[in-house]
């Protein structure tokens, strides 16, 4: 666990999601820029990103499109991040927006050639991509890893969406890496504990993932992880952090607050509290700070 406090930023904007439930691209872009500046202590968002990604590096952006619609990583947010990366001198053709399948990406609004300046949108199932030929032991299980993470990219930015999860309790940053392995169905026993921690402890993920930005523009606060229209909150927020555990701790608190506001009980009472978060922060895995006294939360409304 890091000795220093882990900085996590929660930014919100009432303008990022319109009354009709549409994403305001401009407001979302401003929200992202504000969040990055707060996280890095800089005035310029591209300069802030440069603290996590070097110019000319090959950068992956792992989005989450499992729900196919509404509660997916919003394409407008991803586009804003791509633009900032390019301003930080990452070449367009060195950026890969990726997910498990191309079909999931398409249904969520990502077209393979949606960017004119080079970034690609790729499912691991795309022709010529696939999973590693090497089997990676992960705890007591074994998995093949997406070749996008293994071979294509040097660093990764995790860009998931905040959701309730019927088994894991929380689907935020760390759970999103279930989309990097070929057999996520083997990792859901015991409410995903310790499996989320084990997947994220994989050196490949630990080393390459530099930053987590959780899309909380629309939050599936109950009935997830698929889209369940009765339980979506237009929250208009983003959570940003370099410590994946601390970032998810903040995400959990946001999820619980929204649930509480809608009269839903704490996840613990439903037997779904994400114990894997404490596991991830434990001495055994040392993936980050799970304790609030080791988290510096900066909140701002833009």
């Amino acid at each position: 666990m890091p000795a220093e406090k882990s900085k996590v930023v929660l930014v919100r904007s009432a303008r990022s999601v319109t009354k009709n439930g549409e994403i305001d691209a401009k407001a979302t872009s401003a929200l992202l820029a504000a969040g990055l500046c707060l996280l890095a202590g800089q005035k310029d968002a591209a300069v802030s990103l440069a603290g996590y990604v070097q110019p000319r590096q090959k950068v992956g952006i792992k989005v989450n499109c499992l729900a196919r619609r509404v509660v997916v990583t919003q394409p407008a947010l991803t586009e804003a991040l791509v633009k900032l990366l390019q301003e930080a001198r990452v070449k367009g053709e060195d950026i890969v927006i990726w997910e498990r399948t191309t079909d999931e990406l398409k249904q969520a609004g990502y077209e393979p050639n949606m960017f004119k300046s080079g970034p690609r949108c790729l499912g691991t199932d795309a022709r010529g991509v696939g999973y590693s030929s090497r089997l990676y032991p992960i705890g007591s299980i074994g998995s093949l890893i997406s070749n996008i993470l293994v071979e294509e990219v040097e660093v990764n930015i995790n860009l998931p969406v905040l959701k309730d999860h019927n088994l894991a309790g929380l689907a935020g940053g760390m759970k999103n890496f279930y989309g990097a392995i070929h057999n996520p169905n083997k990792y859901h026993d015991n409410h995903c504990n310790p499996y989320v921690a084990e997947v994220n402890a994989l050196p490949l993920i630990r080393k390459k993932n530099r930053l987590t930005i959780i899309d909380c523009l629309k939050v599936q606060y109950h009935g997830g992880p698929a889209y369940n229209p009765g339980f979506v909150e237009r929250y208009g927020g983003l959570i940003l952090g370099a410590d994946p555990v601390a970032t998810d701790v903040v995400a959990l608190s946001v999820l619980e607050k929204i649930r509480n506001a809608h009269g839903r009980p704490p996840l613990k009472r439903e037997g779904r509290h994400p114990e894997w978060l404490m596991t991830a922060g434990s001495e055994k895995y040392k993936l980050g700070n799970a304790s609030w006294d080791k988290i510096e939360l900066i909140e701002k409304t833009v």
């Binding site: 089997l135 007591s140 299980i141």
Partner: protein
């Protein structure tokens, strides 16, 4: 779409089996559909990238489009757009679907002895199929490149039940075997194929780890003719740590199969240092004797390092012989050693007079001294299904 052609006659099969172990329709991730060289093209398999959407059996609907699967003791609670542990059943808007109906990723013709079933139609061929997926995750799985994959990650062939039966008949297979991965996860496909097979005089056997709930098992027994159960250990801890399953449901399944009157044989893969203690062998054999009787064949088979257990050596033959001795001393009558070709314990000895009644080398019958299931030497019946 691509095509894989293969021909099968018994003579061809024997030649091919000696060289390669059967015919192959698929490999794992990235594998190409292929045919065995030299077998001609009388039978053709079509590969396909589509998945099935046949409603699964044995599940309950819950709130918010969740479902709970009742096919196996794992009882996966599956959210919308998610899959169960097996990776082959998917929840779509609160309806649970099997994605592998009619879509095997492995198709071979094997000797029935390869399953192994030693007291069930010896010398007959088994038209053998498997789909992707499994409801456990054994660290020693020999077929992990299909069992631990999702169906969209394997190369599958379009083989509906009618076609399976047709090919079984064309290949002179007396039996259809559901095997290689875990047939319980393609229950619907297996059930319908077995039912259709019976209508056309082809019998069906399941090669399983035995993780199945009672109701589906009882229903399935009505369509099957024999079951081979891999009892992987007699320890709950081993099941938790090495198999990612539970022992108790497997023991329950063995008792249920006996109650249903179906022929069953047991395989126990002996893994050095993990499930090879004399104490465990004794407890296992005593349980079999008490709960299933002395006539259930048990095969102690040799482990080979693979998948997630590459750090252990193959099982010493002496350990398998110790297991055999313990089983015989406990009173079990039909005890075998597997994966040690040429070992004397590959053969069947009469439970009454002790004479060799079926000689075997590997999967092949070298001598046969039963008449209508009766020992030629002493005239006592040897339990099994012989015709």
């Amino acid at each position: 779409m691509s095509e894989a052609g293969f021909l099968l006659s018994r003579r061809d099969f024997c030649r091919a089996a000696a060289a390669t172990g059967g015919l192959v329709a698929t490999g794992g991730l990235g594998g190409a559909a292929e045919a065995l060289a030299g077998l001609g093209n009388a039978l053709t398999l079509q590969t396909t990238t589509r998945l099935s959407a046949v409603e699964a059996r044995y599940y309950d609907k819950l709130e918010h489009n969740e479902i709970i699967c009742r096919i196996c003791p794992r009882e996966c609670r599956v959210g919308d757009l998610e899959r169960g542990y097996c990776g082959t059943r998917e929840n779509r808007d609160g309806i649970y679907y099997t994605l592998v109906y009619g879509l095997p990723c492995a198709v071979h013709v094997d000797p029935i002895e390869k399953k192994p079933l030693f007291h069930f139609l010896p010398g007959k061929l088994a038209f053998s199929i498997a789909t992707a997926g499994c409801n456990v995750n054994c660290k020693f799985c020999q077929n992990w490149d299909i069992s631990q994959f999702r169906p969209e990650q394997t190369r599958n062939v379009d083989l509906p039940p009618e076609r399976v039966v047709e090919l079984a008949i064309k290949s002179n297979s007396a039996v259809i075997a559901y095997t290689y991965s875990e047939p319980i996860i393609f229950y619907e496909y297996m059930y319908d194929t077995a039912k259709l097979g019976h209508q056309r005089g082809v019998r069906s056997v399941m090669i399983t780890g035995g993780h199945i709930s009672e109701k589906p098992l009882v229903d399935l027994c009505g369509q099957l003719d024999a079951i081979k159960v891999d009892l992987k250990s007699f320890s709950e801890k081993y099941y938790q740590d090495i198999v990612h399953g539970e022992l108790k449901p497997v023991l329950d399944a063995l008792v249920t199969i006996k109650k249903q009157g179906l022929w069953q044989e047991i395989v126990y893969l002996v893994v050095p240092t993990l499930n090879d203690s004399e104490k465990e062998f004794k407890e296992l054999c005593q349980w079999i004797l008490t709960e299933l009787g002395d006539s259930v064949p048990i095969h102690f088979t040799r482990f080979h390092p693979t998948y997630l257990l590459k750090n252990l050596p193959p099982t010493p033959t002496a350990t398998l012989e110790t297991a055999c001795d313990i089983a015989l001393a406990a009173g079990l009558k039909y005890v075998y050693i597997g994966n040690v070709p040429g070992h004397k314990r590959e053969s069947t000895h009469c439970g009454s007079c002790g004479k060799k009644v079926i000689g075997r080398y590997g999967f092949y019958i070298t001598e046969y001294h039963l008449q209508g299931g009766v020992c030629k030497y002493c005239g006592k019946p040897v339990p099994g299904v012989w015709a």
